[in-house]
């Protein structure tokens, strides 16, 4: 054994180029696989840090009528307690209710939280039940989890939150104010939740008190209203801790019983049905298709894709190893022949070669770990993976064990064929052979072909994804998105000041126009159950129409194009005479030949609005280009004094002001806007985003995927280059006498290089054809997720072929240049 190892290390030192090529290729593959494996572990391990995760379920619900069907991840506030009260299988419930607005837009507006002069906005703020720390696991830094949220006016905060306001000091007992209610007292600080938690929060308000914004869903003293709220007050994420022994298959009976007892009568009256189902906590991150929820979710398809990609890279590296090992066969043949003549068995020789492969693989594992660490720390790779990937061998020593075991396995897989091949030669053949057997050469050609097929396919994929991303960024959307700030206005009192705010803003010469709206492009247009008048005058029912509630200057300010009729007027209107501007999609859906004057009725949370069509705008992409343009109406914002809601809701109503700026002197313009807002709304520091930035965010996961594929392309082509470099080295050596002879007969250096690269270039050409087929189908599949897509440009395939061929040629040329340009006698003397 010692002798084996000694000889292995000597071989490594003697043949440094070969060793370096192999180890580099394997190390790249190890780094790639390690990063993907850690990402997969994070994605597939979502929420499993909760010890009781196997018994925790989120309740999701489907409500449907003849016309509509909703799949909601949020359910009514009353659902959890009602289930727990009537079914002993429900051991506990915890609800997370977003601190939300009740405007029709339903966007999750960040909450302003003040401590002294410090105000910050927090999106991840929920009202929750006091037993949250019993059901879900948290690392508690300060406070008593058993009592922290029992009393009204208490709040638990994250470590990030605490540091923001209080630095490293203990914040227990400190007071916070919000628009929510009277001041809160911090009673607990918990460590930031793991990155792979589907529900990440920084602030948890005690549910022990009633918050005005939740009035719609509470009705604790009115059982009838409470039962009604089960149908529409879907503002809470409801989690159930089921009793030990509970089987998810039994939930159907519980659901049916609950529905019959509490909802069936209402359902009959509405001609609707409601059904709940349980999502195991560990699977919430990958929700059912069509489920509406506001939390970011994972995508199993992407994970399978990532896993496939990692395996591709590993396969390419192993192919390299086999290629290089069999190409070196002639160098090893003599030693193999001598050993066999002297009596070494085939098995012993095979073990020797396998040992070499394992040694390379283990060195590659160590280097791969270092490479992964560098990549995660110093390149955008970590950002592409949502910063979920962390490599910490100090705190996870078991991971190192797994990696070394993996290295062992990698060595066996990569080294098996070369070991069998090299040890299988007859002693005399091994001793007298001058070049590798033809079968070996054919296999190597196939392996190079496979490597470059994978590389060229990935390069083509990268180019086409970049083309689609460029298309997405530059395609006209039907409205103007540049230089638009979206400023959040919080509270009805602020919204009432909109005319004053606008007047003040327009005093700045770089502020060109302003318009108020409930939502803006890129956010959910919240389709509502609607009716619309048909051409024959009857009303079509069961329509789902999205809506933008906006001021009359919204259409001109956003650059929308009116095709027919007129804009929304700047004047009041009777309740059922709301002016409505529709888009072409709605006109097409209804088959209107004369859309102006048609009646439309809409319901939002049982509140009815109706009016007539006064104008038609050209279709515009208000949502991401993944979706088709659906029917949409633009209507005046609701006069909130007409909307029946408790007075306490007033602070939670949010509107948006879209401010069009010139694009010159942007920082000073924003500073001016900030000043105006501070004067008119001192409680809320300026909260703004740029519209084009928000729209870009719609494609975040696509950008991430494109970035990852790009990284993969680089890795694949690098590994393929290493392989080609090594093969070229050995080919050059083998053909040195031929090269010398040709040079003596007058061949130029370029002619020699072309001679040596001819075969590889032919293989790359074949690989390009195969890669085109593979890449076409793969990219077509990805593009199917976009309703609007760039055409698949054949130039991308040509370019990827040229890149692959160029890289292969440059690699061969770099390796063979020295021999090709040397004095012919050097090559001839070598023999």
């Amino acid at each position: 054994m010692r002798n084996h190892l000694l000889v292995l290390l000597r071989n490594l030192q003697r043949d440094r180029l070969y060793a370096a090529l192999n180890i580099a290729g394997l190390a790249l593959a190890v780094a790639c696989c390690l990063i993907v494996a850690l990402y997969l572990r994070s994605e597939l391990g979502y929420d499993r840090h909760n010890v009781k995760y196997e018994r925790i379920f989120r309740v999701a619900a489907r409500s449907q009528s003849a016309q509509t069907r909703y799949l909601e991840a949020q359910t009514a506030y009353a659902l959890g307690p009602m289930l727990a009260a009537h079914y002993p299988q429900v051991q506990a419930y915890v609800r997370f209710t977003v601190v939300n607005i009740l405007d029709a837009a339903g966007a999750n507006a960040p909450l302003a939280i003040h401590h002294g002069a410090d105000t910050y906005y927090w999106s991840q703020a929920y009202v929750t039940d006091a037993n949250v720390f019993d059901v879900f696991d948290h690392r508690i830094l300060y406070g008593d989890p058993k009592t922290a949220l029992q009393a009204p006016g208490t709040v638990a905060v994250s470590e990030t939150f605490a540091r923001k306001y209080f630095g490293n000091a203990n914040p227990i007992g400190q007071s916070l104010t919000t628009d929510l209610a009277p001041p809160f007292r911090i009673t607990l600080v918990f460590a930031d939740l793991p990155a792979n938690s589907h529900l990440k929060y920084d602030v948890l308000f005690s549910g022990s008190q009633r918050y005005p914004f939740m009035e719609f869903g509470l009705f604790p003293d009115d059982p009838s209203r409470q039962r009604q709220s089960l149908w529409f007050a879907n503002f809470s994420y409801t989690y159930l801790l089921m009793a030990p022994g509970f089987r998810a298959a039994d939930w159907g009976r519980i659901n049916d019983g609950f529905y019959q007892q509490f909802m069936a009568a209402e359902g009959l009256a509405k001609r609707a049905h409601w059904q709940s189902w349980l999502q195991p906590l560990a699977e919430v991150h990958f929700p059912a298709a069509g489920l509406r929820e506001d939390l970011p979710t994972g995508n199993r398809t992407y994970l399978y894709g990532a896993a496939s990609v990692a395996l591709f890279v590993l396969a390419v590296a192993c192919i390299n190893y086999v290629n290089l090992a069999t190409a070196r066969a002639t160098r090893r043949a003599r030693a193999v022949g001598i050993r066999k003549i002297l009596g070494e068995s085939r098995g012993s020789l095979a073990v020797r070669f396998l040992g070499e492969a394992i040694l390379f693989a283990l060195i590659a594992v160590v280097l791969g770990i270092a490479l992964a660490e560098v990549s995660l720390s110093l390149t955008p790779v970590s950002a592409f993976l949502d910063n979920q990937v962390h490599l910490d061998l100090v705190h996870e020593p078991a991971l190192l064990g797994w990696l070394l075991t993996g290295g062992l396995l990698l060595g066996v897989i990569a080294g098996a064929y070369p070991a069998l091949y090299l040890s299988g030669w007859a002693p005399l053949t091994a001793l007298t052979t001058r070049q590798a057997a033809p079968q070996g050469a054919r296999l190597r050609s196939v392996l190079v072909l496979l490597q470059f097929t994978i590389s060229a396919a990935v390069i083509a994929g990268t180019l086409l994804m970049a083309a689609q991303m460029h298309y997405v960024a530059t395609r006209p959307l039907g409205f103007d998105k540049e230089n638009r700030l979206i400023v959040a206005l919080r509270g009805l009192d602020e919204i009432a000041k909109v005319p004053t705010i606008r007047t003040e803003l327009l005093k700045n010469r770089h502020v060109l126009s302003t318009t108020n709206t409930a939502i803006v492009m890129g956010r959910d247009v919240n389709p509502e159950r609607s009716q619309a008048e048909k051409e024959d005058g009857s009303m079509a029912d069961g329509l789902m129409i999205g809506h933008i509630d906006a001021g009359n200057d919204f259409i001109p300010s956003m650059g929308l194009r009116l095709l027919k009729g007129r804009n929304l007027p700047d004047k009041a209107f009777p309740g059922d005479q709301m002016p409505i501007v529709v888009n072409e999609a709605l006109v097409r859906e209804m088959g209107w030949t004369q859309p102006l004057g048609k009646r439309i009725v809409m319901w939002a949370a049982e509140i009815k609005r109706s009016g007539r069509v006064v104008g038609v705008v050209q279709d515009f992409n208000y949502a991401s280009l993944h979706s088709q343009i659906e029917p949409l109406v633009i209507v005046p914002p609701r006069n909130v004094s007409d909307v029946p809601m408790p007075t306490g809701i007033r602070p939670y109503i949010e509107a948006l002001l879209v401010v069009k700026i010139s694009g010159d002197e942007v920082p000073s313009t924003i500073a001016y806007i900030s000043d105006v807002m501070r004067r008119l709304d001192p409680a809320h520091p300026l909260d703004y985003t740029f519209l084009d930035g928000e729209l870009d965010n719609l494609y975040r996961s696509d950008h991430q995927l494109a970035g990852l594929i790009g990284v993969l392309a680089i890795v694949c082509i690098l590994i393929a280059c290493l392989g080609v470099f090594g093969l070229a080295a050995f080919t050059t050596e083998q053909r040195s006498r031929e090269i010398g002879t040709r040079k003596a007969l007058g061949a130029s250096t370029l002619q020699i290089i072309l001679l040596l690269s001819r075969k590889i270039l032919l293989l790359v050409l074949i690989a390009a054809v195969l890669a085109t087929i593979i890449a076409y189908f793969a990219i077509d599949q990805w593009l199917a997720g976009f309703a609007y897509r760039a055409a698949i440009n054949p130039l991308a395939f040509v370019l990827s072929a040229l890149i692959a061929a160029g890289v292969a040629f440059a690699t061969v040329a770099a390796q063979s240049y020295r021999t090709a340009s040397a004095d012919p006698v050097e090559a001839l003397r070598y023999e």
């Binding site: 030693a335 022949g337 050993r339 009596g343 002693p427």
Partner: protein, 227 residues
């Protein structure tokens, strides 16, 4: 008798060509003989050597080695016989580059399963005998041609084989080193080792006691010398 062959033939076949390297050779070698096999290039001498050394197998004919009929033996059986009874000296030395002089010479003992202390003793002894002990820790690339061939001879001897086969043992050496190696072989033979040498050089053949001449795969002469 160490070697006895009867009508030994070796034919190489490809899709288009059939080449007869050995065309029916009947030959014998006794203990303590030193035989040279001579002939022009391509006459089949090396092929004959490989068959007699159990590295290759004949296409036809009988071959008895140390009384065993080995013509139809598979490689595994041949290897067992070979490592116990035959030592090889090649024209281009065929030392293993990544092993030291000591390790190269030790190899046959290692494959024969000899324990480490005994291996050490035998290797040391044969290195002394070949006067190459002072280079035991050097690699082949660090030795002259003559030194490398002495190492090869040491490796061939270390297992105390019944027969040493030498294929053009001085082919890659200058005349001085070539004579050295030939004297070494002669001394070994005088000490009782049987040697079969392939050579095209008459000077080398003069060291042996019997010369077998080949032409076109056949024995055309077989002469013993009186010393």
């Amino acid at each position: 008798m160490i070697i006895e062959t009867e009508n030994l033939r070796k034919v190489y076949r490809t899709d288009v060509v059939e080449t007869t390297a050995v065309a029916g050779i009947s030959f014998s070698l006794r203990e303590r003989e030193f035989v040279s096999v001579m002939g022009p290039s391509g006459c089949g001498k090396s092929t004959l050597l490989h068959i007699l050394g159990l590295i290759d197998s004949p296409t036809e004919g009988r071959y008895r080695f140390l009384g065993e009929d080995v013509a139809g033996y598979p490689e595994r059986r041949r290897a067992r016989l070979r490592k116990a009874n035959v030592g090889f000296v090649f024209q281009n030395f065929n030392l293993i580059d990544e092993l030291t002089v000591y390790e190269n010479v030790e190899l046959p003992l290692f494959y024969a399963g000899i324990v480490t202390p005994e291996r050490r003793k035998r290797v040391d002894a044969v290195l002394q005998q070949m006067d190459i002990g002072h280079r035991r820790d050097h690699f082949p690339a660090q030795l002259s041609g003559g030194q490398q061939q002495r190492v090869a001879v040491a490796r061939a001897l270390v297992n105390k084989p019944a027969l040493i086969l030498a294929d053009e043992p001085t082919g890659n050496l200058d005349s001085e080193h070539g004579h050295e190696v030939m004297k070494l072989l002669m001394q070994l033979n005088e000490g009782g080792t049987s040697i079969l040498m392939v050579t095209h050089a008459a000077d080398n053949a003069a060291y042996s006691r019997r010369i077998v001449s080949l032409l076109d795969g056949r024995v055309v002469a077989d002469q013993s010398k009186e010393h």
